[in-house]
Symmetry: none
Subunit: 414 residues, 2 copies
């Protein structure tokens, strides 16, 4: 099955909003073995949308459009779909009821204009939107599938996963393509490549992609053999060899995040964690608490941005701050031990550093970070020198801090 993704919206076309939807859709379709032939972005203009739908219908079996399903006058996708398929728009009272109910639970009266969203082209099926008012649209005609999804990423993703993927699975049959992502952190791309390059030579049945980001480098293995079990076999074989070389750097597989992994480890080991942050300003705690159920192992966090807060809440001695400065291994350690002590958790994790872009000195440059971990007996500090960008430094630091907790349970710190 071949597919085309059409992104609708002036804001995407003009570069005012970054399109993340099409990458998500492409990846999910790819997992089903559906080949993406084209991605097209066009503006909010009925004529262009109709043209794009027509040319996509000619060249592929599955067309997915996103965007332009909102209630306002610049949302023209439903109108264009009706035109492209030569259908009338039909009012669906049962859809309106759902939209009204959504507003009611939020304690808001539904504005009249949202009634528009209960209009669906004749013969089309409405796809339920769990997170917003705009329903999706499904049209099956002449053995071709046409799907319209909302442009708001969260709504689109939920609808794709809950409604579209199950439907497509029934159409494409069993997938032969197998993907496997090995997620690493704490090692740079070229170093990783050096460690495994001989394993990648003369690979015919399997594709390996290096996907670097500031959270680490993901390795993506893809196999497309005659059956999915054969694909799985070759992937597993290569994966085992790669693990022998770089096992400790791999923190998870596929879409699992480091904060999920750390949460699972803490839960399994029945240990609790508290966090004291300076330069990350709450980001480490925010990542940890992004995971539902984190209250089982996360007790508290302290964003000790000022020295006063470091002394008052965490009990960092004034002499340490005066002698070594807030960005030092001594203070990092005192913060980790301090937060562990006041919260009575098994582990205390701390971060202090210079996120930038200002505040650096020759001895303590922008990007200098100390991360400390303390348990009931001992404490450890790691030093990092990241780059010049504040946002990237903060993200990298949070990832490195979480990784230290993971490595602790792997026995790195004793």
């Amino acid at each position: 099955m071949k597919a085309e993704i059409i992104i609708i919206g002036d804001e995407i076309l003009y570069g005012l909003t970054l399109d993340t939807n099409s990458a998500f859709i492409a990846e999910k379709l790819g997992e089903l073995g559906i080949e993406i032939s084209y991605k097209t972005a066009i503006g909010d203009e009925v004529k262009k949308i109709v043209e794009a739908i027509h040319s996509a219908q000619r060249r592929v079996d599955l067309v997915i459009v996103t965007g332009g399903l909102g209630p306002t006058s610049d949302d023209l996708t439903v109108k264009a779909i009706a035109k492209a398929f030569k259908k009338n728009l039909i009012f669906h009272p049962e859809i309106l009821k759902k939209i009204e109910a959504r507003f009611k639970t939020r304690g808001i009266e539904m504005p009249k204009i949202n009634q528009n969203q209960a209009l669906i082209p004749q013969g089309a099926k409405a796809l339920e939107n769990q997170l917003g008012s705009a329903p999706g649209i499904l049209i099956e005609e002449d053995k071709k599938i046409f799907i319209a999804l909302p442009g708001v990423p969260k709504e689109m993703k939920a609808m794709l996963e809950q409604e579209v993927i199950p439907l497509l699975k029934t159409k494409v049959g069993k997938t032969k393509i197998v993907h496997r992502k090995l997620r690493t952190t704490g090692i740079i791309e070229s170093k990783l490549y050096e460690k495994i390059q001989d394993l990648l030579k003369d690979l015919k049945e399997i594709k390996v992609a290096f996907l670097p980001s500031y959270l680490g480098v993901d390795l993506r293995l893809t196999a497309n053999l005659k059956t999915s079990s054969k694909s799985k076999d070759v992937i597993t074989q290569l994966e085992d060899k790669i693990k022998e070389r770089i096992g400790g750097f791999i923190y998870s597989y596929d879409e699992q995040t480091l904060e999920e992994v750390v949460g699972r480890i803490l839960k399994e080991n029945k240990r609790t964690l508290s966090v004291a942050e300076s330069c990350t300003g709450g980001l480490v705690a925010a990542k940890i608490t992004n995971i539902s159920g984190s209250s089982d192992y996360f007790e508290r966090g302290v964003v000790s941005y000022s020295n006063q807060a470091k002394m008052e809440i965490l009990g960092v001695p004034k002499e340490l701050l005066d002698k070594f400065g807030a960005v030092s291994q001594e203070v990092a350690l005192a913060m980790a031990q301090g937060v562990r002590k006041i919260s009575k958790t098994d582990l205390g994790l701390s971060v202090t550093g210079i996120a930038g872009p200002t505040g650096g000195t020759p001895e303590k440059p922008v990007g200098l970070i100390y991360i400390a971990l303390a348990d009931v007996n001992k404490g450890w500090v790691e030093k990092f020198i990241f780059g010049q960008d504040r946002m990237i430094n903060r993200e990298r630091t949070a990832q490195a801090a979480l990784n230290i907790v993971r490595l602790y349970f792997l026995g790195k710190y004793k």
Copy 2:
């Protein structure tokens, strides 16, 4: 002038890499008043690339392709360009010299494979790459412009700004298009639309787009009149009318975030802030401290995830927690007052709620959030009911909390 952007590369098409290039190019072209008609993404396949170039050449005046200019065997763009324009590839020794020099300064011997990158279609101009080995390609034929840029974002951006934009400026003359974004929060899209819909009727010279996200709704005004000053005038006129209706909901313009706005307000008013968070788990503090210079007004944050932390650090009375529960207006208020008191800041901001997906009860459903603000004299609490999604609830809550600080300085709370 109308333009099409073609993104080449399997990794983009399959959603393995997010395309940020096309948004950047579109924005830069938009600033010159060049209208983007289409964006297309295709894979690494000569036939598809040739087809895409041909159909773009038919429908627009300017075609920009990115990607596939690297030295390895999956980089096919130069070959495809030569085919599309029916040109031979010509070896340019002066380009090879530059590539060799690049490797020399990095202390690396140039791999033989990079010699490929000195091949350019006959009659084309090579565009210099300051940051990498692949030169860009420029072809002017039949009053149409064709440009190929590297796919590595940094290289593409530098080449676009240093080589392409100056060239295009000579072609298009002065820009006439003016964009203006009004960013609102605290009001839903359809409500916003109702309030201003009569202003949007029969607008001919100006386009208005509604861009909703869980942070709020952005309104984007675009005008393209005979001169940029005329475009500016009509935008300002409409903007003034819109402001009369919904002024209080507008928190910023263009790309400025709410955390930047709140930071600026605190700085200007010489006030300090501390934060106590439960369900957002550090996200409010993380957003505030994302802003460089936030240590001028942000003193500390407490992620009081456990009741113990609420009592010990913030001094929330046990009786309040027992009587009203952690998610209550009483506890929210005590948290805000508590964090303000211990940190000696002018303002204390707090958040408590049920982010979900679990933990809800009939009386206190998932999505129930209390946000409190305290100054030295008084405290205020706002109640919100958001949705079912944990991540969205957290983001919305953080935005609503920051907005309450903004509204305080607008005189809403007295």
